[in-house]
């Protein structure tokens, strides 16, 4: 019995070895960044490059980013993180509200032009931000919204993907439930808030994680609409910091700081992510 168990485990050793090797290769760039983020800056200014094992890890690098200025003209990673969290949260909440409302109309209400309008909503998924970026930039300039949270979030508050995702879910709610609620005197808003939204929790979670991840990881738009270092998101802040050779170790530390929360998010909500990937297209 025990011998059989041992043999079964032995036969699995090659499988685990291959898995571990693959995991190690895939995580190698992350590891090197982590190792480099713990070296003192002097190690980067000499040849050969810093070793893969920081013998005297300099944890200060992880706290240097919060210092005002830090001699770089930038406000540091604390401010960048604050901006990113603010922007991603507003975009996520905005998308949840606008697409819940629109999906309700498409799923539960009858009105002329419904099919055409829904097709138009879907068509928005085919226009990536990159294509519309020049006029959008002009619009934000015209509104005097450059270097503001409004400017960073405005183009992303509505989503065809989210509307589609939630409408598909709402359609699975039995019409008898809606009829019964109407008999009880539930109006549109009461039914939406007290019945439809609580039932759609998992669809809403899928949309929320997509919206947050996309908003957090944006690069082109925040690069265009922010000039003031105080308004930079963490992605733009990191990009700018890598151009400064005398702070490169802190740039690496900040990269790890920006990556860690997203890894936790992806790990925690992996099943919602998979559901969303097949529910519609993903925008970069």
């Amino acid at each position: 019995m025990t011998q059989g168990l041992a043999i079964r485990w032995l036969r699995r050793v090659p499988a685990y070895a291959v898995l571990t090797l693959c995991a190690a290769v895939l995580m190698f760039p992350l590891y090197v960044t982590l190792a480099n983020s713990l070296h003192p800056i002097a190690e980067f200014l000499q040849n050969p490059p810093p070793s893969l094992w920081p013998s005297h890890p300099q944890w200060d690098n992880y706290f240097a980013g919060g210092e005002e200025g830090g001699g770089t003209g930038g406000p540091g990673v604390t401010r960048y993180l604050f901006n990113s969290i603010t922007v991603a949260t507003i975009i996520t909440l905005g998308q949840l509200v606008t697409s819940t409302l629109a999906a309700y109309a498409f799923a539960f209400l009858r009105f002329p032009g419904r099919v055409v309008l829904f097709a138009i909503f879907l068509a928005t998924m085919m226009v990536p931000l990159e294509v519309a970026v020049i006029p959008n930039f002009q619009t934000i300039q015209w509104l005097h919204w450059t270097d503001s949270y409004q400017g960073l979030v405005a183009p992303f508050l509505a989503t065809g993907f989210g509307t589609f995702l939630l409408r598909q879910f709402f359609l699975t709610i039995p019409t008898e439930l809606k009829d019964a609620a109407e008999m009880d005197g539930y109006g549109d808003y009461r039914f939406l808030i007290h019945v439809a939204v609580p039932l759609a929790r998992s669809a809403l979670a899928t949309l929320a994680i997509f919206a947050f991840l996309q908003a957090w990881n944006q690069y082109l738009w925040p690069l265009l609409v922010t000039n003031d270092p105080d308004m930079r998101t963490v992605q733009i802040g990191i990009g700018a910091e890598t151009q400064q050779p005398f702070r490169i170790n802190i740039a690496f530390a900040n990269t790890i700081i920006a990556f860690a929360p997203m890894v936790l998010l992806v790990v925690a909500f992996q099943r919602y992510l998979v559901r969303g990937l097949f529910g519609g297209s993903v925008k970069g």
Binding site: N36, V97, V266
Partner: protein
């Protein structure tokens, strides 16, 4: 709803009442889409009809002439060639690697969830973060990949600053052969980073695809004496092909949208070796301030991506049907 209005002897037509009821739900999205999706699309077409001086103080109407000039220009064709190469470099290797990872992560083993999570982790990385991870490996002075290459007795590679065929002066057939003999290392560098990022996404997509393959197919294949390799070729691959196709279209769309990794790693250079279409639009619009010429490229990109997205939709719909 209509009772009080009817009592007053004034009744809106049914359609109008329905619209009034639906409008508050739809208005926020309609206003936002109008402002930030449809208006800019029309405006881009319009901007393409005008050329302007560098300070944008004067615009001259040139109609479709600018469309012809820009789309036929060697710069635009070169950026399309770079984008196409980048697409090939990023989608194919990422698909092959992700298929392997998904298959080995689909085994029934204790602790397999840990490996699935690690393989999916690059999904969490933004383009900026990915660019930094690879900058660490490829950097001219601190990059450790060159150290490893030197230790193996090979020549160092000037990763981010060697444009290879893209900057060499080759004409006609010479350009084609140099595509292999004179590698564009800068584009390969940006591609390696992008492949790493795509691996996470593709592995997640392919794992979901693998899990829909019925176990009975493998059992009957085993009964027929198929080994692991034969099972992979005759069961896994055919059953996974719709998912592989879906993932590849997603990858192509991502490749056409690539910007951040280029901006951080190479800045489109050396010369134009990594000047993908989006980067070219960015430079034309926000560095040269030629909105018209940039808009023409944006419209061309839109048409290309529209075709790709329609293809992707057909695939998603297909999946939903047979699941």
């Amino acid at each position: 709803v209509s009772a009080p209005a009817a009592a007053k002897g004034f009744v809106l037509p049914k359609g109008a009442r329905q619209l009034l009821r639906a409008l508050p739900f739809l208005a926020p999205s309609i206003v936002l889409f109008g402002t930030f999706v449809f208006y800019p699309l029309a405006k881009s077409v319009y901007l393409g009809f005008y050329i302007e001086n560098p300070f944008r103080t004067r615009q001259i109407y040139v109609g479709f002439d600018q469309y012809g000039d820009v789309l036929a220009s060697s710069e635009f064709i070169s950026s399309l060639l770079v984008t196409a190469t980048f697409t090939l470099y990023t989608v194919v290797p990422a698909l092959v690697i992700a298929t392997f990872l998904a298959v080995i992560a689909n085994q029934k083993l204790a602790g397999i969830a840990v490996f699935r999570t690690i393989f999916a982790a690059p999904l969490a990385a933004s383009v900026a973060i990915t660019a930094v991870f690879w900058l660490v490996l490829l950097h001219p002075t601190i990059g450790i990949l060159n150290e490893a290459i030197e230790n193996l007795g090979l020549a160092r590679v000037d990763w981010l600053n060697d444009g290879g065929w893209a900057v060499a002066e080759h004409g006609g057939i010479g350009k084609l052969t140099s595509w292999i003999s004179d590698p564009n290392w800068a584009l390969l560098s940006v591609s390696m980073a992008t492949v790493w990022m795509n691996i996470g996404l593709f592995t997640v997509i392919l794992l979901a695809g693998l899990q829909t393959i019925p176990n009975e197919l493998y059992e009957s294949a085993r009964v027929d004496g198929a080994g692991r390799w034969a099972q992979f070729w005759h069961v896994t691959l055919p059953m996974l092909s719709p998912t592989l196709f879906f993932a590849s279209v997603v990858g192509v769309i991502f490749a056409f949208q690539a910007f951040g990794q280029v901006d951080i790693m190479t800045g489109g250079g050396p010369v134009d070796a990594t000047n993908v279409v989006i980067y070219s639009i960015y430079q034309e619009a926000f560095e040269n301030f030629r909105y018209g010429a940039a808009s023409v490229q944006a419209i061309a990109l839109f048409v290309i991506m529209l075709g790709l997205t329609l293809l992707q939709f057909r695939l998603v719909r297909g999946r939903i049907f047979y699941r």
